[in-house]
C-alpha cells in the first residue's frame, strides 16, 4: 500500500460576497498560506502546482491563472490549470492526484480562487456556456437549467417545494457551525417558501450565493508522508464522467440521459467505489459533501452517489437522515448551497470531506466518520467528478 496519495494540507478563505480587501492573486495566496501551514511545509517542498479556475469571464481576465503564478509559489515550477466549470475544483484535486500517483511528483499544491460576488452578474456570464445557435438564446442560466431538472424530479419522484426547503434549512443549520461558510443565517421552511421565485420552482433561498474566496490543498505520496512523519487522509477512489452538452437531449421522449437525475455522476461514483473497494455505499460511506448549489439538486446527487434507491432521498430527508447526527450526514459544512466560489467550490467539497474523516471539522464535525465521499458538477450539469476519501 505504498502507492497511496494523501491529503496533507487544507486552506480555505472565510467566504464572503465581496473581498474588496484582496486582489484576485491575494485571495489565492491567502488559501495557499493556510494550506502550506496546515501541511507544515514550505513552498520549496512543492514540486508542482495545479491551478483551479473556471470560467475566465468570472474574473474578467483571460487565463487569469498566469497572473497568480507567483501567488501560488509556482515560478519556474511545474504548473497547469484545470477548468471544467463547477467541477473544476475536484478536477484540480484529481489532476494533482495523477501528478503524485504517476510518480512524477512527491508534493503537489492545488489552489484557486474566485470573485463571483464581484463579477457583476454571474448568470450573464454563465449564459455564455450554451451553444450560440440553439440553447443560448432561450435564455438559459444555471438556475433556469436546474429548475427544469427540478420539475422533472418532482414528476418522477414526488419532490415538493417544501422538500426543497428542508434541504435549505438543513444546510443553513450546518453552515451556521462552519466559520468558512458564506450564508450562515439559520432559516425556516416558511422563510424559504416565502422567498421570491427566481425560476419556478426555485426560489431565492433555494439558491447558492455568489461567493468570493480561495481554497488550496496539498497532496503527497505515501512514501513522502511516511519519510517526513506527516499526518494525512487518503484519496482511495476517483473518477470523472460527462453527459451530453445539449440540454434538449436530456429531456423529451427518449433522452440520452434524464435531466432530472445525474446519470454520469452515478457512473463517476460507481467507478470511484470500484477503485476504493466499496461494494455497498450505504453501509460503507459515513459522510458526504455533495455539490448541490440549488436545493433540489441535493436529492439527485444523493441518489447518484448510491446512498439510497433513486428518489428515496426525498423521504429520507423528511426523516432527518442527512442531518448532522443523522444516519449519513450530507453537507455538514453547509455545502455549495451556502458557499459557492465557483472555481474552488468542488475543491471545498473534497477539503471538507477530508476534514471530516480526519476528525478536524470543528463545530460541524460528524461523529466517528472514517470514509467520506465528495463530488463536483459542472458545465450545464454535464461534467461530474467523484472522490472517496478515507482516514
Amino acid at each position: 500500500m505504498s502507492d497511496r496519495v494523501g491529503i496533507i494540507g487544507i486552506g480555505q478563505s472565510m467566504f464572503r460576497s465581496r473581498r474588496d480587501d484582496a486582489s484576485y492573486p491575494d485571495l489565492v495566496r491567502e488559501a495557499v498560506v493556510l494550506a502550506m501551514a496546515d501541511a507544515r511545509l514550505e513552498l520549496d517542498a512543492v514540486d508542482a502546482v495545479v491551478y483551479s479556475l473556471s470560467p475566465d469571464a468570472m474574473i474578467g481576465i483571460g487565463n487569469a491563472e498566469r497572473l497568480a503564478v507567483d501567488a501560488v509559489g509556482g515560478r519556474n515550477k511545474r504548473f497547469m490549470r484545470l477548468a471544467t466549470g463547477g467541477t473544476t475544483g475536484i478536477s484540480s484535486v484529481a489532476a494533482a492526484y495523477y501528478h503524485v500517483a504517476s510518480g512524477a511528483c512527491d508534493v503537489v499544491l492545488t489552489a484557486g480562487a474566485d470573485k463571483v460576488g464581484e463579477c457583476g452578474d454571474s448568470q450573464t456570464v454563465l449564459n455564455k456556456l450554451w451553444d450560440t445557435a440553439y440553447e443560448r438564446a432561450l435564455p438559459l442560466g444555471t438556475i433556469s437549467m436546474l429548475a427544469m431538472s427540478a420539475v422533472r424530479y418532482m414528476k418522477n419522484h414526488g419532490m415538493t417545494q417544501e422538500d426543497m426547503a428542508r434541504v435549505v434549512v438543513k444546510n443553513r443549520r450546518h453552515a451556521s457551525l462552519n466559520p468558512h461558510a458564506h450564508l450562515r443565517k439559520i432559516v425556516t421552511i416558511d422563510d424559504v417558501m416565502e422567498s421570491r421565485y427566481i425560476s419556478w420552482p426555485i426560489k431565492l433561498l433555494d439558491c447558492c450565493p455568489q461567493s468570493s474566496g480561495g481554497a488550496a490543498m496539498v497532496l503527497a505520496s505515501e512514501q513522502y508522508i511516511r519519510d517526513n512523519h506527516l499526518d494525512a487522509v487518503w484519496i482511495t477512489g476517483l473518477a470523472h464522467c460527462a453527459e451530453t452538452y445539449w440540454i434538449g437531449d436530456r429531456m423529451g421522449n427518449n433522452p440520452t440521459a434524464e435531466h432530472a437525475d445525474a446519470s454520469a455522476l452515478r457512473s463517476a461514483f460507481e467507478r470511484s467505489y470500484k477503485m476504493a473497494g466499496i461494494t455497498d455505499p450505504p453501509k460503507q460511506v459515513h459522510v458526504a459533501e455533495l455539490y448541490s448549489p440549488f436545493s433540489n439538486t441535493e436529492f439527485h446527487v444523493i441518489d447518484a452517489a448510491g446512498l439510497c434507491a433513486p428518489g428515496a432521498s426525498v423521504a429520507m430527508m423528511r426523516e432527518g437522515q442527512f442531518e448532522l447526527g443523522g444516519w449519513l450526514p450530507v453537507n455538514c459544512s453547509g455545502g455549495s448551497l451556502c458557499t459557492n466560489a465557483i472555481s474552488v467550490t468542488s475543491m471545498a467539497r473534497v477539503a471538507e470531506t477530508a476534514l471530516q474523516v480526519w476528525g478536524r471539522a470543528g463545530a460541524h464535525q460528524a461523529k466517528g466518520v472514517k470514509v467520506g465521499i465528495a463530488n463536483g458538477n459542472g458545465g450545464d450539469h454535464q461534467f461530474f467528478g467523484a472522490m472517496v476519501i478515507e482516514a
Partner: protein
C-alpha cells in the same frame, strides 16, 4: 522522477491549417479525433479518458470544454480540460496513463480564428493595472523578448534571420500545400513581418496508451515517452530577464533527468518558434547549443534538414500558426518523427526526438518532451 508506467504515443492527427469555413468547430474536433483514432488503429470505444485544451476567449464560449464533450467522444467518459496550454493536455494525459488508472488517453486541442481580433483577446489576458494599457499582445511580448536578446547576445538579429530562412526552407518541403495560408504575419520591432506568420485555424489530436495496451493491441510504431518536463515563469514581464528562459531550463532538466539522456542523444527537435528569437533561446535552454555556438551551428547547417540535429523539419510555427495548438503540434511532430510517420519531412533513422512547447506572453509556459522509438530499458 521517472514515471511509474511509461506511456506511448500511438496515434497523431496534425491539422496545422483548416482552410475555409464549411466545417463548424465541433465538426473540426470530431474530424480530428477520428483521424487520430484511425492513425492509432483503434476506435473511441478503446478510449477511457480524454484531456482537451482550448482558449475560451478564442472559442467565444465561457467554458469551451463543454462543447467538446460530444464532439471528441467525451459523453460517458472521463474528460478534463487544461486551458492554460495545449501542451498541458499532453502532460496531464501522460500522467493519467502513468498513474495506472487509465490505459488510454485522447488528447485534443484546437485554435479557431473566428474572433474579430486574437490580439485584443490576448490583451484581455494581461494584468489589468499595468500591462493591459501598454497595450500588450503575445507578438508584442515576443518582440520585447527579441529586443532583450539582441541587447544580451550581439549578432542575434542575423541569427534570427538565419532561423527564419531555415524554417521557411523546411516548411516548403514539409507542407508544400500550405503556401498562401498565413504566409506573412505582423511586425513588432525588432521582429519583422517575415519572421512571423498570421494565425490560422488548426487542430491536433494524439492518442496515448499504456505498455499493456500497446502490447495487447499490437499498436504499430509507438513513440515512447522517455522524459517530460514542464514549468512556468511569472506573468510580470518586468520581473523577468527576457533574454533567458529559466522555465524551459527547468523543464529540460526534468525531461533529461527522467529520460537518463543528454542533448547529445537527440536526433531531431521541434521548437516553438513563435519568433526566431524564441527558437534561439530554446537552443540554449535545451542544451542543444550554448549561446556562443548559435552562429556556428546555424552557419554550418547543424540544424538544417541534412545536419546533425535538424530543428523544425516541419517548418515550425513560422510555416503554420494555429496559435493555441502550436505547442501540442510540436509534440505530435516529434512523435511522428520517431514513429517514422512524418511524411515529406521525415528524418531518416530518427530514434530519439525532443519537442519544446512554449506558450503565453514571452513564452511564459514551457514544456520539454523526449520521445523515443524504443521504450526505456
Amino acid at each position: 522522477m521517472p514515471l511509474k508506467i511509461q506511456p506511448a504515443v500511438i496515434g497523431c492527427a496534425i491539422r496545422p491549417v483548416i482552410p475555409g469555413r464549411d466545417r463548424s468547430l465541433e465538426e473540426i474536433m470530431y474530424d480530428t479525433t477520428l483521424l487520430a483514432l484511425a492513425d492509432a488503429g483503434i476506435t473511441i470505444e478503446d478510449i477511457d479518458g480524454i484531456v482537451v485544451a482550448s482558449n475560451d476567449q478564442f472559442d467565444g464560449r465561457a467554458i469551451a470544454v463543454m462543447m467538446a464533450s460530444s464532439a471528441v467522444g467525451g459523453v460517458d467518459r472521463d474528460i478534463l480540460s487544461t486551458p492554460s496550454a495545449s501542451e498541458h493536455a499532453f502532460v496531464l494525459g501522460a500522467l493519467r496513463v502513468a498513474s495506472g488508472q487509465h490505459r488510454t488517453q485522447l488528447i485534443v486541442a484546437w485554435s479557431p480564428t473566428e474572433a474579430s481580433s486574437l490580439s485584443e483577446l490576448q490583451r484581455l489576458g494581461t494584468d489589468p493595472y499595468y500591462h493591459r494599457a501598454l497595450p500588450l499582445d503575445e507578438l508584442s511580448s515576443h518582440a520585447l523578448q527579441a529586443a532583450a536578446l539582441e541587447h544580451a547576445a550581439p549578432g542575434a538579429r542575423a541569427m534570427a534571420e538565419a532561423v527564419t530562412a531555415k524554417n521557411r526552407r523546411h516548411g516548403a518541403i514539409a507542407y508544400p500545400n500550405l503556401a498562401g495560408h498565413g504566409a506573412r504575419g505582423l511586425a513588432r520591432w525588432p521582429i519583422t513581418a517575415d519572421m512571423t506568420t498570421g494565425p490560422v485555424t488548426g487542430a491536433v489530436a494524439m492518442v496515448l496508451a499504456s505498455p499493456d495496451f500497446v502490447r495487447d493491441h499490437a499498436s504499430a510504431a509507438p513513440a515512447w515517452l522517455r522524459g517530460m518536463g514542464w514549468a512556468t515563469e511569472t506573468a510580470f514581464l518586468g520581473d523577468r530577464n527576457l533574454a533567458t528562459a529559466p522555465a524551459l531550463e527547468a523543464a529540460a532538466r526534468q525531461a533529461y533527468e527522467a529520460a537518463g539522456l543528454t542533448a547529445l542523444d537527440i536526433d531531431v527537435a521541434e521548437l516553438t518558434d513563435a519568433s526566431p528569437y524564441a527558437e534561439l533561446l530554446a537552443y540554449e535552454a535545451l542544451s542543444l547549443a550554448p549561446r556562443d555556438r548559435w552562429e556556428a551551428c546555424l552557419n554550418d547547417g547543424t540544424f538544417d534538414s541534412g545536419g546533425r540535429l535538424p530543428v523544425n523539419l516541419s517548418g515550425g510555427v513560422l510555416t503554420c500558426n494555429p496559435v493555441f495548438c502550436t505547442g501540442l503540434i510540436r509534440i505530435a511532430e516529434i512523435a511522428n518523427q520517431v514513429r517514422g510517420r512524418a511524411g515529406l519531412h521525415q528524418r531518416a533513422g530518427a530514434r530519439i526526438g525532443i519537442a519544446q512547447a512554449g506558450s503565453g506572453f514571452a513564452m511564459q509556459h514551457q514544456a520539454a518532451v523526449i520521445l523515443g522509438k524504443e521504450a526505456r530499458t
